[in-house]
């Protein structure tokens, strides 16, 4: 039984180092400052177009994408909520990026803004990317669902809806996942207060 495993050894050939990954992704989404300097002034750079159009369709305005590597081991892209779905489907479907594995989908309450963080990985190229989206609307925060691109998003988006109250357009079954339907409020938001069940230091 042990011998049958050896047939699959060649699958590991595609793995690239972190440096190669950075250069590869950097060539698609050029970033002026590639150095990793923790104490440097903010490395958030705004792209002004140029080669961007060869990778991304005209639908996405490249000046609205923010690239950053500060304080993270991945390349981060901050995208406007209107452009989220079209960027995501291109990241997934473009043969060069081919980010087909959504390994983490996190809801975050940044104090004033509510947002979602998508961790993506390519199973063929083995590079990773983080896409972030946020909205200042705390009353009716709404993003487009990506569960037509990655099926795993269906459950993860329900979890985010349950704990952050973020709604997802075109989600097939958006309802509470862990909490009961009559639960009031969204517990993982920073302004959530429950005097009975929460221990606050």
């Amino acid at each position: 039984m042990k011998d049958s495993m050896k047939d699959f050894d060649d699958l590991d050939k595609d793995i690239m180092t972190n440096q190669e990954l950075q250069e590869l992704i950097g060539s698609w989404f050029p970033i002026p400052a590639m150095e990793k300097e923790s104490d440097a002034p903010k490395v958030v750079e705004t792209e002004e177009g140029s080669e961007e159009d060869t990778v991304l369709e005209e639908k996405i305005d490249p000046s609205l994408l923010e690239f950053s590597e500060e304080g993270s081991q991945f390349l981060n892209i901050m995208v406007q909520q209107e452009q989220l779905h079209s960027l995501m489907s291109q990241l997934r479907n473009n043969i060069e990026t081919n980010l087909d594995y959504l390994f983490c989908l996190t809801g975050v309450d940044w104090g004033t803004d509510l947002g979602v963080v998508y961790h993506l990985e390519s199973t063929t190229h083995r590079h990773s990317l983080v896409v972030k989206v946020k909205t200042p609307d705390r009353e009716y925060p709404t993003f487009d669902s990506v569960c037509d691109i990655w099926k795993t998003a269906e459950f993860h988006e329900r979890e985010v809806y349950d704990f952050f109250g973020i709604k997802f357009n075109n989600h097939p079954n958006l309802k509470r996942l862990f909490l009961t339907d009559e639960w009031e409020g969204f517990p993982l938001r920073k302004d959530y207060v429950d005097e009975i069940n929460m221990v606050i230091k």
Binding site: L11, I15, E70, G71, S72, N76, F103, T152, F178
Partner: protein, 373 residues
Amino acid sequence: METKTVETNFKSEEYFINMGPQHPATHGVLRLLLTIDGEIIKKVEPDLGYIHRSIEKMCERDSYQQIVHLTDRMDYLSSNINNEAVCLAVENALQLEVPERVKVIRTIIGELTRISSHCLWWGVMGMDVGALTTYFYGFRDRELINDIFEETCGARLTMNYNVPGGLMFDIHPNFIKRVKDFIVHFKTKLPEYDRLLTGNVIFHKRTKGVGILSKEDAISFGASGPVGRASGYSCDVRKHHPYSALDKVTFNEALKTEGDTFARYLVRIQEMWESLSIIEQLIDNIPEGEYRVATNAVIKLPKGEYYQRVETARGELGVYIISTGTKNPYRLKFRSPGFSNLSLLNHIAVGGKIGDLVATMATLDLVIPDIDR
């Protein structure tokens, strides 16, 4: 096989039944809402939250040393690997280099945890499909590992052996001998597992061709661990993103392409062989040195975002920490393997029979606290 359509006067009707939350095959408090037509499953909808403790919210309140203890309570069968994940995330954020001794001991105990978890899975898997003997065989061998753990750190299940910076104590003087004895013992027992269940004709009929998951769907559903690997999807974090001492050992990633229940079974059996081989490579070469490096009593992570992936017995566990530079994480997310693996249950169970659902669920190896967190 020729299929015949028989005209009957019976009316076909869909109805709902509850499976769980106390059903023995759900291995915990998971409730499945089944839409069935006769015995054919039309839809499976999991109802979660029976033991949800909101560990992620508790983490925002606790210090990093305290968080390690909470992670035991997620996937309690891989508790040591969960601890390791948080410790690695914190150490990477602090850029703290732990001694080689710690790395090797962590890897050995991690692989022992994996064997122990798979032993339990194997016993329960057999029981789910009607073979009660496997349960006793699996627990007999798992007990030996738990005894080693108990001697090492005082706990059998929720170990809390890792702390940011290293280990809580050094290993027990008997540790190496007992692990070696276990390897010798388990190498005679694993072929026994195969003789008892793997070659069993009834078991084959229950598992082959049941609950098939294609590679594309496995990736799209975020399957990881043995579930993904049984579909031919190379997703072993130990291979692709090695941590601790896993870059110093050679092992094969157990892969199958069939994607059915039997393939998931075989992948886990192979993983036990591979884990034994990893332990054998390391057990004689535990370097001398410190078992812990000192950290500040109050750990403050630098401002930033940290992501750590480890391979638990169930698949890929991700720890995503957003820090604002204080002693508590601003947001901490656990990407649990069981949660993603559960989401594909509806996809692979529809069209099958209720009895097949039990076998399929057994090979997804769901641990409910891991899903509910």
